[in-house]
C-alpha cells in the first residue's frame, strides 16, 4: 500500500508538470496582450514597451515558463496584473469561500442522496421508487441557478431567514459566514444529490441481485440489515467515483451560483481574470484545480481500498 501511494504521488507530480506546460502554452497561444489591456487602447508605445519589459513579457517563452514553474514549486504563483497583489493571496481569499461551499454542498448531497438511493432500491418498482426517482429526474433537469432564484425568493425575500447574497467574510463570525453560504450550498447540492441518488440506486440494485445477498438472507438476517450491512458497502465503489468527480466540479464549476449569490469565490476570480487577460491568475487557479483533482483521485482510490479488501492486496 505504501509503495502504491508513493507511486501515485510521483505520478501525480508528473501530471502536474505536464499540466503546467499545457496550461502555459494554451494561454500563450490565445490572443490578447496583458500590458495593452492594463494600460488601455490609447497607451503611449513607450509606456507600453516599458511595462512589457517590467512584466517580463519580452523574454523568450521558454524562459518565462521556467520562471513561472520554478516559482510554483516554491509557492510563488506570481503577481496579478490587474490586482497588483500576489496570486497566492488572491486565491487564498477566494478558497476561503469556495472550499467551505464545496464541502457543505458535498456533505448535503451525500446525506440526501445515499438514503434516498437505498430507499428507492429497497422498494424497486413500487410507487415509492417511481416517485423518488421521478423527483431525482427533475432534480437533474432543473438548472441550479433557477433553483437558486427560487431559494432566494423563499428563504431570503419571503421568510427573511438568510441574506439574499454577498459574503460578509469569516471575520464577521462563523455563523454569519455559514448563513451566507447555506442557500448556494443547497442550490449546488440538489442537482448533485439527484445524480448521486440515481447512481446509488442502480449500484444497490446490482448488488442486491448478487448471490451473497441470498446467503445473508438464508442466514436469517432481515432485509433491512442485509441492505445496510451487506449491500451498501459493496455498492459504494461507483458512489465514491461520482463523489470524487462532483467535488472537483463543486470547487470551481460554481461560477453561475457565485454570480447569483454574489459570492467572491474561485469561479468568479477565474472568470474575471480571463476577461481581463490576467493570465498569471488564470494559470494559478487552473494549476490549483489540477492539483485538487489529482489529490481527490488519490483519496478516492484509498477509499476504494478501504471499502473493498480485494483492491488492497492487488497492489
Amino acid at each position: 500500500m505504501l509503495v502504491y501511494l508513493l507511486k501515485r504521488i510521483a505520478i501525480g507530480l508528473a501530471t502536474l508538470l505536464v499540466a503546467s506546460a499545457v496550461v502555459f502554452s494554451v494561454l500563450e497561444i490565445i490572443p490578447g496582450d496583458p500590458a495593452l489591456l492594463m494600460l488601455g487602447m490609447n497607451a503611449e508605445p513607450d509606456t507600453l514597451a516599458a511595462l512589457r519589459e517590467q512584466m517580463g513579457l519580452n523574454q523568450p517563452v521558454f524562459l518565462r515558463y521556467l520562471d513561472w514553474v520554478s516559482g510554483l514549486a516554491v509557492g510563488d504563483f506570481g503577481t496579478s496584473y490587474t490586482y497588483s497583489s500576489p496570486v497566492l493571496e488572491l486565491i487564498g481569499e477566494r478558497v476561503m469561500v469556495s472550499l467551505p461551499l464545496a464541502l457543505i454542498s458535498l456533505f448535503l448531497s451525500t446525506v440526501i442522496a445515499l438514503p434516498v438511493g437505498i430507499f428507492a432500491a429497497a422498494r424497486r418498482g413500487k410507487p415509492a421508487d417511481t416517485i423518488t426517482m421521478g423527483a431525482a429526474q427533475v432534480g437533474v433537469a432543473i438548472p441550479n441557478f433557477w433553483f437558486a432564484l427560487l431559494l432566494i425568493y423563499l428563504f431570503a425575500v419571503w421568510l427573511r431567514l438568510v441574506p439574499a447574497g454577498g459574503f460578509p467574510g469569516w471575520d464577521a463570525g462563523i455563523w454569519a459566514g455559514l448563513k451566507a453560504l447555506i442557500l448556494p450550498a443547497i442550490a449546488l447540492a440538489l442537482p448533485q444529490a439527484a445524480i448521486l441518488a440515481r447512481v446509488t440506486r442502480s449500484a444497490m440494485l446490482e448488488v442486491l441481485g448478487e448471490d451473497y445477498i441470498r446467503t445473508a438472507r438464508a442466514k436469517g438476517m432481515p432485509r433491512r440489515i442485509v441492505l445496510w450491512h451487506h449491500a451498501l458497502r459493496n455498492a459504494l465503489i461507483p458512489v465514491l467515483t461520482i463523489l470524487g468527480l462532483q467535488f472537483a466540479f463543486l470547487l470551481a464549476g460554481t461560477i453561475i451560483i457565485e454570480n447569483v449569490f454574489y459570492l467572491p469565490g474561485l469561479g468568479r476570480l477565474v472568470f474575471q481574470a480571463i476577461t481581463q487577460r490576467d493570465l498569471i491568475v488564470v494559470e494559478g487557479v487552473v494549476m490549483l484545480l489540477v492539483a485538487t483533482v489529482i489529490i481527490v483521485n488519490i483519496l478516492v482510490d484509498i477509499g476504494y481500498a478501504i471499502v473493498d479488501p480485494r483492491l488492497r492486496t492487488r497492489r
Binding site: L2, V3, E210, D211, Y212, R214, T215, A216, R217, A218, K219, G220, M221, P222, R223, I225, H229, H230, R233, N234, V307, D308, P309, R310, T313
Partner: protein, 544 residues
Amino acid sequence: MSLLEIENLSLSIAGHPVLKDVDLQIAPGEVLGVVGESGSGKSMSALTVMQLLPELTRAQGRVTFDGIDILAAPEEAMCRLRGDDLGMVFQEPMTALNPVKTIGEQVAEGIRWHTGANRPDAEARARAILDRVGLPESKFPLSRFPHELSGGQRQRVVIAIACALKPKLLIADEPTTALDVVLQAQILDLLRDLVEENRMGLMLISHDLAVVADMADRVTVMRHGVVMESGPTATVLREQKHPYTRQLAEASTHVPARARPQEEAGKEEQTPLLSVSSVTRDYPGRRKGLFSKPEPFRAVDNVSFSLVPGHAVALVGRSGCGKSTLARMILALDRPTSGEIRLDGEALGGKSEHELRHARRNMQVVFQDPYGSFNPRHQVERLVAEPLHLLDTKPSVTERRERVAEALESVGLKASDMQKYPHEFSGGQRQRVSIARAIITRPKLIVADEPVSALDVSIRAQILDLFADLNQRLDLTYLFITHDLTVARAITDEVMVMHDGRIVESGPTAAVLENPESEAAKALVAAAPDLERAIAARLAREKA
C-alpha cells in the same frame, strides 16, 4: 414423524406455473436426493421451504417444517428459522460470500443474530464450526477474506454458515457442481458426517444421479415441476421403473457409438497433427516485500505430447492444475515461456496475428458456457460466420450464407436458425451453435474446454453424440479439457492426466481409468461418482 412435509405444492411466478402438486418428505437424519434437469423445479421447491422465492410468486398447498406452516409464517418467523433450524448451501461458492466481509464476520453474524451472543462468544463458536468444516485456525484465521480462499474452501465457509447453529434441516442446492471431482468428494463426505453427527435432515439437490445414488437414502425425481417418481434410492435407481428415471440413468452413462480410429492400420507412421514439446509457462508472482524480487508461478511445467489426426484425447485434472493455461497456449492465445508448439508441422511461436491466420483456421475452440461466449446482440449468422475472416479470400455474401447454413445443418440445426438471436435457443442448442462456429473454417483440431459441464445429462448425451459424429464425418481431432471422467470415458481414445502443471500419466482412456498408476490419476478416479458402483455399494449396505 416427518421433519419437512410438502403436500400438493403448486407454484407460479408471474402467472407461469413452475411447480404442480409436488409432494416431498424428509425425516430427521434422512438424506433426500432431489434429481432433475434444469427447469424441473427442484431449486424452486427448496426456495419455497426457505421462503426466499423471487417476487410475484404465488404458492398453494402445504409446507410444514417441524410443525410450522411455512407458507403462512410471517417474515419475522422465517428470519428466526433461516440460519437456525433451517440452513441452505448454494451452487456457486465463488460468489456466495460477501467480498467485503471477513469469513469470521460472516459466520459469526448469524450466530449473534440468532443467539444474542456477544462478539467474543460468537467468534469462538464461529471458530469452532470453521475448524469442524476443515478450515483450521492456523491457515484460516477469522480475519481471512473470501477472495483469499479457493472455491472448495469458500464452499466450506458457506457450509459453516449454514450449519453453525446445528440446523434440523440443511438444503444443499447443487453444492458441488462447480467443484472438481476431488473437492466434490470431500464436500460430500463433510455433509454426510454433519448429517450423522446432528441427526440433521439433508435435502440434496443435484442433476448428477451418481452423486445422489452415493448420498441419498431416498430419491425424488422431478421434471417440468412435477414429481415423476419417489422412493428408496437403491430401488428407484436399480429398477428404473419410471421411463424418465431410466432416460436420466441412460443419459448419464451414455457412450456415443463411434468407430475407433486407432484400430486403423498404420497409425504409427502418421505424422502428429499437434505436437507440444517441453512447453513451460511462468506467471509473475506476487511481490513479497518492497525490494524482494517476485518469484514466478509455474502454471505449466515442461509438458510434451502429440496428437494423432482423428484421435480424441482428454486432458483431465483438478481445478488449477494448468490445463486451461496449456489449452490457451495451444490456441495461440497465450505464449509459452519456453518450449514449442507445432500444428500440422507449423510452429506457432513468435508469429504475428496475421501470420497465425492459417493456423487459427485449422484449430477452433468450443467453450463451456455457450451463452457467455456469444454477443447477445448479434444474429446467429454473424456469430457463426465470425471465424471466416481467417480465410485468405473474403467469401461473398451468398457464399458466406451457404457455409453458415451448411455448418448449422451439420450440427443438427436448421439453416433458417441463422436469423435468430442467442437467447432464442436452449442451452443445448446454443452449444450446437458454438460447435457450428468452430467447424465453419473446416478445421482439423477442435479444442473443447469443458464443453458439456454446463449441460443437463440428456442434453449432454446428445452433444457427446454430435462430437462423436463430427469426429468421423469431418475427420476432426479433439482435445477435450475436462475434470469429468465420464466425459473422458464416453468420447476419448486417450487420456492425459495433469497435476501441478505436469502431465503425470497418459495412455488409452480405458486403461488409465481402469488402472490408474499416478497418485493424481488415482485420486481423480476414486473421487469420480459412478452410478453403478454407488448403487452396488448402497445395496451391499442395505443387506448388511
